[in-house]
Symmetry: C2
Subunit: 469 residues, 2 copies
């Protein structure tokens, strides 16, 4: 942690509530300070508010002024694959073929410590360049990759969740790990890394299709022994995968039941994708306090399908949601790009939900919830992600006592057309109120990318400054 | 045109045939020169081939060497809206609402000559930054916007197609133009601009829903009087729009028939989108020699739906296709980004066509045609676009006698993760054969954007050099 007390002055925007709870008045879920001051002590937010109010409370404090930028909480990536950094955006197949052809061979290399270490450096560099300050990551079935992941995260002082990634079937022989070895190595790694610095451990069955009952039982035992640990997996990404899950777990009526049966579905459980979850499965996620990580870059890139965002945000049974890039199935490290694609998924869903194609599919309330306003998008990428991961006590916005991870956004950067577009949203040149700030943020998510991330700060220290490239 | 004779040496990749005709052997449709020489005289390709063969034929010629880059024909955008440069990526609604809220008010400003002139400068700058050297553009119903568009294109010596854009209903009063005024102004503009320099004129009924029968008849008369002119319009973008078209043209069995009835469907006719075209409509497009411009950025951004690429490429009835950004419905000027989204649309289609959801929808042949390999993607963006616009005699590849518009691609630029990814595709550091070149190109379309466009050349002169931003 950065030991000194210091302050950052600038234009701040964060979410203080779920904007879906404020339909029609979403700005009530946001906090906007056109001239704010963030006071950080030992990496923790010690004070926050309008400059004129906060400044007198801290006479003589060193102030870093960051003008002409929007400062937001750091982005949280709920679902990403560390060992896929080099194969992001690989050509050609749906999930199961793609895994065999591109992913497994690359991930095998991460048993080599040097390769894994180099990759970890590149991985975290790319995260920071995209404005991501926290991620929940898959590693491989080799403990080496998990060790190097946590070691690099610790060097950078980043809040991360990861764990040895178990798979004991449907992959090449040398890619598999036995349930016994997975159990023993997971125990060792939990002891070594969980809650050491900012590292957090997730018991990680890769996906139920790739896990035998014995592997799921090993996870179940681990969760009982270490109830403080997270659980991270995949669910219902692709129709063929779901059929295989049904075949392999004939005693379960659906994919979700595999996790219920093993006592895993509950708080701190996240499953990536959930594209094909039924209404009933979503209700059970909601009641259990379990989360889905919505990965639109990947769902489009692999053609998995359109996640039913509006259904998941049913106010009667809301599912905890994060946004995930799912890099390398997702073709970018950028949560901003993930927001763009999430918006598109919502819009495509709504052309069906408006009833113009099939009147029986009309559901205008669900359609309204599919509309990814900037308030909703940046909620998913910050406080919402933190809430889904049960980390909203330490991350997600600028509340006092939280960890001071944040991003500094340049709303005019990116493709050449950006600046003129943004000038239409803020006639005064800078956002004068929360709506103007939100319009700039929509410009960033609709037209922008990692170029809009000018700086990324970890625990009060600048960890990334953009070099135009 | 650039009067001097000169030569460019570098790594060249272009398409010489439609790769869909070479399924399984798509590289046969491509031409790859790891060390090539392009000789340009008066803006026209005078010679092209391997450096060792071509160079001795031109002793003493000035050679510009561009190493470590892939040189491709300039990109062709088949569908873009000049007066939407400032509202690209606008928030919130499906087609018809979005037009009323964002588009019409902005387009109205283009009746002001100064505003239109400034916008034209920005528009062409953004095109060139994305590697686009030719576009077919909509303007507005004010002749001023068409004049300023052609004037700016002429200053830049770019091959463009555009025309006064007719709409006489379903828009604010001051946005409309009467069929009589549209007819008279179109005649005048054709006389003034068509085939002057590189400018080409398209008779442009905005979309049949916005055009009365009288407006369509004005277009019909214009096409008879000026058969050399192009026709540019929209079709079947959105289900609600199609229903409205059916209501407004009760004597037509489908949307396509509106154009058939007015004698417009034929060579040099392009309709943007075609998301919801029936199989029968596609067959009629194919037989007529008419084209569709596939606009995946827009179709996802507005939620219009998934274009059936594999159906349009049915070998029995192939539809001429270009790629379009449809900027501002599309949220980028970049054809590279359009290729990314086109790939995703194909992949999403295929999760239905593999029969895993509904066995009755299984069509593996169509699914194969949906797969947007780099050969297919860059064909659509270059030679295929030229073919669809009946410009393949002058544009689309490096054949002798064609116009020397090209882009210089840096395969390592873009988000931080790009270079390491690309190093996996080309172990030697540069592409040694056509397949390696294609793999780099897939990396660009899957992970890249306008940052990969290092230079853009128009008629043998460099018109854009990337400034890292």
């Amino acid at each position: 942690m950065n030991g000194a007390t210091q302050a950052i002055r600038g234009i701040f925007f964060d979410l203080i509530d779920d904007p879906w709870k404020h339909s029609g008045h979403e700005s009530r879920a946001a906090r906007f300070l056109p001239d704010g001051l963030l006071v950080v002590k030992d990496g923790i937010i010690a004070d926050f508010g309008p400059f004129d109010e906060v400044s007198p409370r801290h006479p003589g404090i060193a102030v870093t002024h960051i003008p002409d930028r929007l400062i937001l909480p750091g982005f949280i990536d709920g679902h990403i694959h560390f060992p896929q950094v080099r194969v992001l955006g690989a050509y050609g197949n749906q999930l199961l073929d793609w895994l065999q052809k591109w992913i497994f061979p690359e991930e095998l290399k991460y048993a080599d410590r040097e390769y894994a270490r180099e990759a970890a450096g590149r991985f975290f560099d790319a995260l920071l360049a995209g404005g991501t300050t926290t991620c929940q990551a898959f590693t491989t079935s080799s403990p080496v990759s998990t060790e190097e992941f946590f070691a690099e995260a610790a060097r950078r002082n980043m809040r991360v969740i990861a764990g040895l990634t178990g798979i004991d079937r449907f992959a090449p022989e040398d890619f598999l790990i036995t349930p016994e070895a997975f159990y023993a190595e997971s125990k060792r790694l939990i002891g070594e890394y969980h809650r050491k610095g900012r590292n957090l451990y997730a018991i990680t069955p890769r996906f139920a299709v790739g896990c035998t009952t014995e592997m799921m039982e090993a996870c179940s035992r681990l969760k009982k022994e270490y109830p403080d640990c997270w659980i991270n997996t995949h669910i219902s990404e692709n129709p063929s995968e779901i059929r295989t899950a049904r075949q392999e777990y004939p005693d379960c009526t659906d994919y979700t039941q595999v996790h219920e049966k093993h006592g895993l579905l509950g708080p701190k459980f996240t499953a990536g994708h959930g594209v094909w979850l039924s209404d009933d499965e979503m209700r059970r996620f909601s009641r259990a306090g379990a989360a889905v990580s919505f990965c639109p870059l990947s769902n489009l890139f692999l053609g998995s399908g359109l996640f039913r965002l509006g259904r998941a945000k049913d106010p009667a049974n809301p599912v905890r949601l994060s946004l995930g890039t799912d890099m390398g199935g997702g073709n970018s490290f950028s949560l901003i790009r993930a927001m763009e694609e999430a918006y598109k998924v919502g819009m495509c869903n709504n052309t069906m939900l408006d009833g113009s194609v099939n009147p029986r599919e009309q559901d205008l309330a669900e359609a309204e919830r599919n509309k990814l306003s900037p308030y909703r998008a940046f909620y998913l990428g910050t406080l919402g992600g933190a809430h889904s991961l049960y980390l909203d006590d330490v991350l997600g916005n600028f509340d006092k006592g939280k960890e001071a991870d944040f991003v500094v956004l340049d709303w005019n950067a990116g493709q050449l057309a950006m600046a003129w577009r943004q000038s239409l949203a803020v006639p005064g040149g800078a956002p004068a109120n929360v709506d103007e700030a939100a319009q700039l943020l929509f410009g960033i998510m609709a037209v922008g990318d990692d170029r809009n991330v000018d700086e990324t700060w970890i625990a009060g220290a600048r960890a990334h400054k953009r070099t135009p490239s």
